[in-house]
Symmetry: none
Subunit: 203 residues, 4 copies
Amino acid sequence: MADTATQKISPKHEIRRAQIIACAEGEFEKHGFHGAGMSAIAKACGMSVGHLYHYFSSKEELIQAVVQAELDRQACRLDELESLPPEMLASDAARKVETILMHNDNPYRTVLNFEMLAEAQRNPKIAQMLQVNDKLMRDRFCALLISAGVDEPEDRTELLLAFFSGLPARALRHPEQERQSLVDVLVPVVEKIFGEPFRKTET
Amino acid sequence: MADTATQKISPKHEIRRAQIIACAEGEFEKHGFHGAGMSAIAKACGMSVGHLYHYFSSKEELIQAVVQAELDRQACRLDELESLPPEMLASDAARKVETILMHNDNPYRTVLNFEMLAEAQRNPKIAQMLQVNDKLMRDRFCALLISAGVDEPEDRTELLLAFFSGLPARALRHPEQERQSLVDVLVPVVEKIFGEPFRKTET
Amino acid sequence: MADTATQKISPKHEIRRAQIIACAEGEFEKHGFHGAGMSAIAKACGMSVGHLYHYFSSKEELIQAVVQAELDRQACRLDELESLPPEMLASDAARKVETILMHNDNPYRTVLNFEMLAEAQRNPKIAQMLQVNDKLMRDRFCALLISAGVDEPEDRTELLLAFFSGLPARALRHPEQERQSLVDVLVPVVEKIFGEPFRKTET
Amino acid sequence: MADTATQKISPKHEIRRAQIIACAEGEFEKHGFHGAGMSAIAKACGMSVGHLYHYFSSKEELIQAVVQAELDRQACRLDELESLPPEMLASDAARKVETILMHNDNPYRTVLNFEMLAEAQRNPKIAQMLQVNDKLMRDRFCALLISAGVDEPEDRTELLLAFFSGLPARALRHPEQERQSLVDVLVPVVEKIFGEPFRKTET
DNA sequence: CATGAATGAGGCTTCATTCAT
DNA sequence: CATGAATGAAGCCTCATTCAT
């Protein structure tokens, strides 16, 4: 009755859905996936509860849509890097990191982030979505590294992602940490990961 | 170790509390802080709901106790490092990482981990607990680095913590990643963070 | 008549609310404000518990609505007196007292009455409602006395109200008291309060 | 197992009971008969819950004891009047009213008062206690009036009791009423009830 | 005489979801 | 396309009472 995938491709419908996703995201950020109620979300959309169910047949589906939207946004961050000439990758990536961290009020989007990770541990559908998205991003990033002539791209990718996955948790556990100081530490690491042989000796 | 108030120090009471915390942790891991019900927790403890409230006056308080227990466990991991002779720190730390990752079924304890981080975003008490604990661990770790004669201990600490905070998220998003391969990547990073100047040029 | 907030003025909604108030009143009379359960009230309304909360957001609010309804009914008793020509006030008031006491099964509505007074001692909102209503009734009654040319209207009002406030308690503590006998005693008192100088010497 | 009447007449036991009644009264005044919990009462007594049940086999029984204690106190107020010479009754009663109202912080003891009346409506045992006590007091008061040579003692008694039963409700609904002004009104009324023919024409 | 651990039914309230209009 | 009335299970928590120690 309500296909997650084969939704009608009416433009109005899609626009409405996007608006709802945006509102729901706000509620989820404020109260968590389990703390936010469907009626509160409906109210935030200026919409009746019943009508909400015309667009999303269950809360589960709405959560998935919100998660997917966030994953898409995360993937978009690679677009810029892909448009760079390969030889400038290392330097520009580091600069980009600096820009994001210094000129962004909420650089890590921690709220939805942890909500998603927590949910993924109990909800296989969400877990799969994260994993599929991660594979896409890894592949794209690996391709970037390869085009830049960097060796061992998988390992470097994994390393970089581990790093950036850790930053949101650090922001929560150590919020008074100065951004500038963090940037000073991160930039050389990024450059190293992008450009320099990081394993001295192989077994 | 962490009394919310001046709890009576009856030994039986404390033992019971610890048992409840253990059971509750299991339920929270299975269903999340908000998904696990007090009655299910009581059942898991072999106890009536009402009686649960003789030990924890609210779900909130029980969650805090579980969180504190996990934080204490995390802090304990530093104990071993502190018992090492300073000059062996770098090498032993790397070896310890390897041991943990390779010989442990659930090395990251991701479940409670993310549940805590997600909760910390809406629950100031939990957030504070994480931050207080983080400060403690940072200070202890810095002291280790200083005793080992390493410069810029704060930055190195932050870097290392970012790294290890990222691993759980990586495990969720990229579960098929081979542990051995990950270890191969991590060990040199750890060594570098422990021992080597990581900033080539200072401004 | 007494909106807690700016309730929507949907007629259906208001009718339903009134029905619920009536049913709740019945339950409160039978079991008291604290003895009556929301689920029993819902059942008495032929309604699910959850739905009750679409009309009253808490038991507290429902209690307030029931109290206000009773207070409004009490105030209505003045309507008739106000429609009388001033010179007939004394005689008609006494006759009215007789009518109420003799031709009414439950002339004092003691049940809700004492429930309200008991509740007012712990619930400031209820206390305030009683006091506001009392002021309104006193003012209206004073105006009546003034229009009838009676002196010292405030004191007479207070006296009369003390009297009639005492009757419900008497009915409870002395239920076998004959009504007719009581009326014989009351009528001259009422007449005296309405018409005759009751203080022999004024300062 | 636990006789309400034939309790052991051990002096210690009785003293303890009296202490508990005093503490329970405090709790009942603060939270009402239904709002006060047995464990809170036990705590107020510095006693364990279980032990409380050695003195009162149920909450119901405790409530009854508290009610009886209050009724006994009310009856005691007649003692003084009974010790007066009959001819001074009218004047002294009025003066006594004045003394009570002007030199007493809580002259009406409204809290327990209304709690009792509300409870009496649903609890036949309590109702009976009030009624038995009321009969005793009426009889004693009638005897006083008769000894003072006053006619129609029953009616006068009922009238006076109605008056004084109304004052607590007035105190709740019109708390800002000045005491002095009230006394000025009451004193002549009391005198009239005690001493003067109040019905102009008898049938 | 005294404790407090233990029970489990019942309290108020919220929730995702459905359906008649 | 849109509403909001309606459901009832489940949520957290409190209570009077009992019983082993």
